[in-house]
């Protein structure tokens, strides 16, 4: 098993790994939405061994659209542009260099037996509503900092 985006997986938080799909169900650079319980995430494949998972919710507007943004790069880092107002986020850390007030939550990804697994903080009840106490965007969520720091 390979953890692909290790920087998003802090040791302090217990992660629960969820199978999303097979690697070859994803087209390179074509984002897809995935539903884990009720949480919407965006899954982006850059190569069979380079897959990112981020929040599907656009940090700027709250609309669940991030998987439909343009995937690109800045220097050697992969980026994702919001399809609504084109804020560009770093796929590895979720930071938005153009607007430091915005951040896109990121989640660790593993590939095992050709399947894409996304790690979410253990026990986080899934809802895609940002005001829900357990949503990763909510600052009170225990797993939040772990999920995307």
């Amino acid at each position: 098993m390979t953890t692909l985006t290790a920087e998003a997986a802090p040791a302090a938080v217990d992660l629960q790994w969820h199978r999303v799909c097979q690697v070859d169900e994803l087209e390179t650079a074509w984002g897809e939405a995935a539903l884990i319980d009720n949480l919407q995430i965006a899954v982006i494949r850059l190569s069979p061994s380079r897959i990112y998972a981020v929040d599907q919710r656009d940090p700027a507007t709250g609309a669940c659209v991030m998987s439909r943004g343009i995937v690109g790069d800045s220097g050697s880092r992969a980026t994702l542009a919001s399809p609504l107002h084109k804020e560009v986020y770093m796929l590895d850390t979720g930071e938005c260099p153009g607007n430091t007030g915005l951040r896109l939550p990121t989640f660790p990804v593993q590939v095992a037996d050709g399947a894409v697994l996304v790690g979410l903080p253990d026990g986080s009840a899934r809802t895609d509503h940002p005001d829900h106490p357990d949503h990763p965007d909510n600052p009170d969520t225990p797993g939040r900092s772990g999920a995307a720091a």
């Binding site: 650079a29 539903l35 343009i70 690109g72």
Partner: protein, 920 residues
Amino acid sequence: MTQHPIRRIVVAGGGPAAHRFVEAMCSRDATGISITVLTEEAHQPYDRVALSSALTDTGVDLALGEPDLWVTGGVNLVTGARVVDLDLQTQEAITSDGGHYPYDELVLATGSNAATLPIPGNEHTHVYRTLEDVWTINAQVKELTASLGRTINAVTIGGGLLGLEAAAGLQTLGANPVVIDGGNWLMGTQLDEGAGQAMGRLVADKGLEVHGGVFPSSVITDPDGGQVTGVEMADGRVIPADMVVVSIGVRPRDDIARALNGRAKTAAAEAAGKTPEELADEDYDPVFRMGARGGIVIDETCATDVDHVWAVGEVANFDGKSVGLVAPANTMAEIVADRLHGGDAAFEGFDTATKLKLSGVDVASFGDAFAAGDGALEIVYADPARGVYQKVVVSDDATTLLGGIFVGDAAPYTSLRPLLGRELPAEPGAYLSAAGGDAPDTELPDDAVLCSCNNVSAGSIRDAVNGCGSCEGDSPVQELSALKGCTKAGTQCGSCVPMLKKLLEGELTKSGITVSRALCEHFELSRAELFEAVRAVGLTSSEQILTRFGTPVEVAQPGGDTIQQAPLGCDICKPVLASILASQHTEYLLDGGRGTLQDTNDRALANMQKNGTYSVVPRIPGGEITPEKLAVIARVAETYGLYTKITGALRIDLLGARLEQLPEIWKELVEAGFESGHAYGKALRNVKSCVGSTWCRYGVQDSVAMAIELELRYRGLRSPHKLKMGVSGCARECAEARAKDVGVIATADGWNLYVGGNGGANPAHARLLAKDLDDATLIQYIDRYLMYYIRTADRLQRTAHWLEDIHGGLDHVSDVVISDSLGIAADLEQAMARHVDNYQDEWAATLEDPERLRRFRSFVNAPQEKDESIVNVNERGMNRPATGAEAAAAYEEGMVPLGATIPVRSGAAEAAAAAEQVRS
């Protein structure tokens, strides 16, 4: 007095002049200086020039400059503190609340008051001077409109610049705007009679009711004395009014000086054994000399008669005048700051140049606008029918520019204004653009003032562009926004920005600097260069283009080495690659990796809305549609709960479809004979047409048939930006074809072809390319024109801008299209023929192939699930997206499943009640 270790500077007043003074002090060396600004207002200094925007939008932020200025060390802004008196012995400013502020230097920047009318009922009127004033007016318009249940009559007394601004704002707020002006024509301070009359006609056309030449005699209220009902005029007429705004000018707020003068007079009278009333004005020395109509007299250094007391802005009287304009106030503030730093700047007189847009009417006046100088000549063009008045005032030998007035078309103002007092490079009449004048482009001399608001000369702008030390780090400033930040030119009223841009481009060209047209960090080439490069080499995929022409990325390898590889691209260059490939090859948009290049809308072959749903726009060529097809659209909208709206392009927009619904919706539409309308693409949108000679008793050609032919020919054509066309069946131009990229207007002998029109934010009228064409030639020319545009335009450059930008302009394009000056006409036509031959409907092609339908699944792991985050509200019988507050409130209540529709709410605060209704 002992010398204080810190030089204490106190500013009385907190308007734009005070702001500029503090900014000017801080931009110089402010060490060892403390600045205390005492303002009676509750706000930081704000932009009074823009007050009318706060009348119509009370939320607008008018704060001047950087907020950091007021937290800079040594700068202290005290709000709610009005200076009422001075102690000249101890050098202290005294505020109404008893505060004493010792100063080493005092700057009086108290501005002016709105003048009030000495007529009965005056207490029921509003003035127009502060943010609170305009907020009150805004609130009263809304209250009265609600309580009276009709459009209210809002009378503005005063037809000057501010009065007209107020009236225009009141009109925007929904009131019936009425202007009462004692003068014989509007804006009598800036405009001569001809210009004022033209202005009067133009604003009357915009719906302003003007009563000129008569003064008001009283404001009438209802018997309870509370509600205004009208304004009685000197000639006995009564103008109905529900509210009255008075804007008849300003009076310098010089009461501090008057109080000191009054005490001096009393003391002198006592010494002479008289009462103050008995003492003649010339028998005592006032502390401050005052202007005949108010204002504290200053010399050219902006110093008053009292040592260490300066006056700037509207309270200052120079050369017998106080002027209520921001440009001289800024200049005075700069002069005092310079003098306090040991400089020798001097005030040379008021620059009264004014340019503004009132109710959409351009007005400008500058210099000796009334030709009052000896021997001054006026060259005038007046066209009452078009509502244009242009005048240039020159010296008696017709060479030196002394002033000018422009109404209705102020285009020459920006280039003339900096030439004030100089020899004109061309005949004065050449500057009357409305008369067909064609003035030469003129190189501005270094000492010509380009930005009069901030007194920035062409020379200092050149210095900044060329990095001659005027800016921090001395590095050249070669971008417009940076240049504005560095020089402050164009940052106040903005009217000089076109000149600023021209000057910048001219300087860059002179120094051999080519403005980078690189697409983004991934391509050094411009779009046009990339288009030609891809075509010449024959590349067919984005991977090939990125590898061949992209800027390589260095990627670190596990061993510590780095390798270079092609970049992935970004949201700027990828859609350009998509467009170039589509224009050259006309293949299905989303196959072969091209899907990942597409911008938001192309990716889903639909237009994404704010909540992540899409709108669907079937093509309705020329706007012609059968009842059967209308019924299909109605059925689809009903089935999927879509919001329907007629677009500006003769089509029907169906909004609110979820991604995974798009294929089902299009299946029904395609089966009924519809095809994609490409509302999502940088492509031909539609061809608008009037009903044409088939029905219309004026039509001379069948505009509908031609529109359909053109729309079917160019449908799906990808271009640097969207393309719109129009066909009108006669010269009445009901299809507004000249507002389109390609406009076709019928004549008795064929078709006139116009190009480069644009609607939207930067409207442009299309210009004539060729006349009286037969159908085949018309299409041949449009083929060449469009393909030449597609090959040579920049990214996201509409045809109007392209025509301005391309070397040689319309003449060049006309040569290429009509005379085939480049010898590429056949090539352009073949390229278009390939597009026409290869066109296929993108939605029909999508539905044919299950692999393509995969792109429209909701979730890769749960394609049967729908996006529950989408919440609708029912309003006026249809769905619309819930606002964040409505959705959150409904969700909080827990009674509304996400993905549902909740009833309409008017305000966010009531959103919680929405959920309540659902429950009950």
